[in-house]
Symmetry: C2
Subunit: 337 residues, 2 copies
């Protein structure tokens, strides 16, 4: 158990979240802002430090003790050891190569730990959420992008460079659309918010869109069609939008079947904004595909469930992340004399 | 280190191999026979016991000491703990539910350890072959079926039931042909010997085959066309056969890209009869696909290589398998007083 609260930071493609989190994963104070784009690295760091300081100051004003560390999660791939972002495909170029961990740690004069957003979330859900008690946990997040992380035999799958677990970048269709990473037919190229929005825009442009999607394009502009618009159009009976969503759900279901055959997990946990929006419309067909297509032992064992902590998974996960990477802050590690 | 030699058994879809293997992985004596099909479980066990006794007797006749255990690998899925085969998709029904481990152990009055063929091979290659020194090793075998096994962070990926690592059963094409396991578009449905032969027969039947494949069908009968025939036909300029092989290689390459993104291994090792037959014709395009499509850190780190032990991987792997599952036979575990 950590000896005090930590500052937590979750950098997403859409929002940046800062919070103060107690050793039990309780989130006391939070600040959210739109993720800065098109700014230089220095400006990004200043912006984030301001957000964290606001959270820290509000916590102090309410009588909280000083935070003992800062735990950060951000889009991968990144180098967790040096705290450096590498080439996050869903953030702009101003983030590439940014040494976010040291910059935040220096700015706050706190020890820091940083890892991929999905690693933060799986840690949060594993310790405090839907993954409690699991020994073999596969997490797939369907959001702006599609990402993942894996716990196998009670340990995080990290690989020699800490970058393992890019579950959104498995090919489900060799002839499929190009993914944001440049490769064809990844599950992210079907099921991410970016991919769904892009497919909706294409349907308008090539004339295959139904009236609901066309009307949205006329009122908002075709380039501003979002994944939410495509979902809404499908609800209004737009066939092209329905086909796009069916393709996204199918890609997720097939990817989960592959993951069940490969990892034989006890839990597959789906998370992210699109999972939250679709709920059982995504979970139920995924469970059916697993029951029909996966090997029997794997299929009989696994539970396919939704993440429980919503947007707070990564913030809560900053606690086990800090405890794992900065073990001198973990009182369990101290002699009990 | 084991204190003596073991009897090793490798049950394949085509051949059954028995051998005596030294603690250093050296294979002293071997016996090979066609895998029995269409026989009852008792007859299968008798057949295998005869083969193992022949190997044991020849070893004894040459002055070898008694084997201290029997290590078995067989097609998955299976229950390693009880030594029972479950539903191996490429063996006939007479193997289903067969408690092979106890039957062999009782018949030879030896302690036994049993695991999936691919687990045996990855252990053999990891300890004695192409995987030596790796901490994160992905093994894909392309043979009658397509299977795999994974070492991550220096440990076998087994999952809670010991059945993890079914790498041949990842979907690479949601609209692809049905796999032997019943699910669509798995890499096995494109690249296994069974799949290649089936595609060759279909090409003859639907008239798309070129002259070489047609001539083979006329001389041998369309139902006897093998994967080797399809390869030979492609070498002779048969376009349809070439398309089948290109599809198989592409499926392997895409699956390896997915595995590199997911596991971030230091080594991907390809093995099995088809890998041996095709060599660089399979390895080179797979390496190119990884370089072009996988995430940069993963792609820069990984070496894509061929297995080194050929058909002997599973036999050599019986040694680390016995050492891991029967630790009382491992002298490293004993106090050194």
């Amino acid at each position: 158990m950590l000896s005090g609260a930590i500052l937590a930071l979750d950098v997403g493609a859409t929002n940046v979240r800062a919070a103060v989190v107690g050793p039990d994963g309780t989130i006391d104070v939070r600040r959210t802002a739109r993720t800065p784009t098109g700014q230089a690295g220095d400006a990004v760091v200043s912006f984030i430090l301001d957000l964290l300081r606001q959270a820290r100051d509000e916590y102090a004003a309410s009588g909280g003790r000083d935070a003992i560390a800062v735990g950060i999660c951000a889009p991968g791939p990144l180098d967790a050891a040096t705290g450096t972002l590498i080439e996050p495909p869903n953030l702009g170029g101003d983030w590439r190569g940014l040494a976010l961990g040291p910059a935040i740690g220096d700015g706050l004069r706190l020890p820091w730990a940083l890892d991929r957003d999905t690693v933060g979330t799986i840690l949060g859900e594993w310790h405090f959420g839907a993954g409690r008690g699991s020994t073999d946990l596969v997490y797939l997040t369907i959001s702006t992008g599609v990402g993942g992380a894996v716990v196998t035999d009670g340990r995080l799958l990290l690989g020699p460079d800490g970058v393992a677990g890019e579950l959104g970048h498995m090919t489900v269709d060799m002839d499929g659309p190009l993914c944001g990473c440049g490769a064809p037919g990844h599950v992210e190229a079907f099921a991410s918010g970016v991919a769904i929005a892009r497919a909706g825009r294409s349907a308008v442009r090539d004339g295959s869109a139904g009236e609901p999607l066309k009307a949205m394009a006329e009122s908002a502009g075709v380039d501003r069609i979002t994944a939410e618009d495509v979902s809404r159009a499908a609800d209004l009976g737009d066939r092209a939008a329905g086909v796009i969503l069916a393709g996204a759900r199918r890609a997720v279901a097939f990817a989960v079947v592959s993951l069940v055959n490969v990892f034989a997990p006890d839990v597959v946990m789906l998370g992210g904004g699109i999972t939250r929006a679709w709920g059982e419309h995504l979970l139920a067909p995924t469970r059916s595909a697993v029951a029909e297509q996966a090997f029997r032992i794997q299929a009989d064992r696994v539970r396919v469930i939704a993440a429980a902590l919503g947007d707070d998974g990564g913030l809560a996960g900053a606690v086990p992340l800090v405890a794992a990477r900065l073990p001198h802050l973990d009182t369990r590690e101290r002699p009990t004399t």
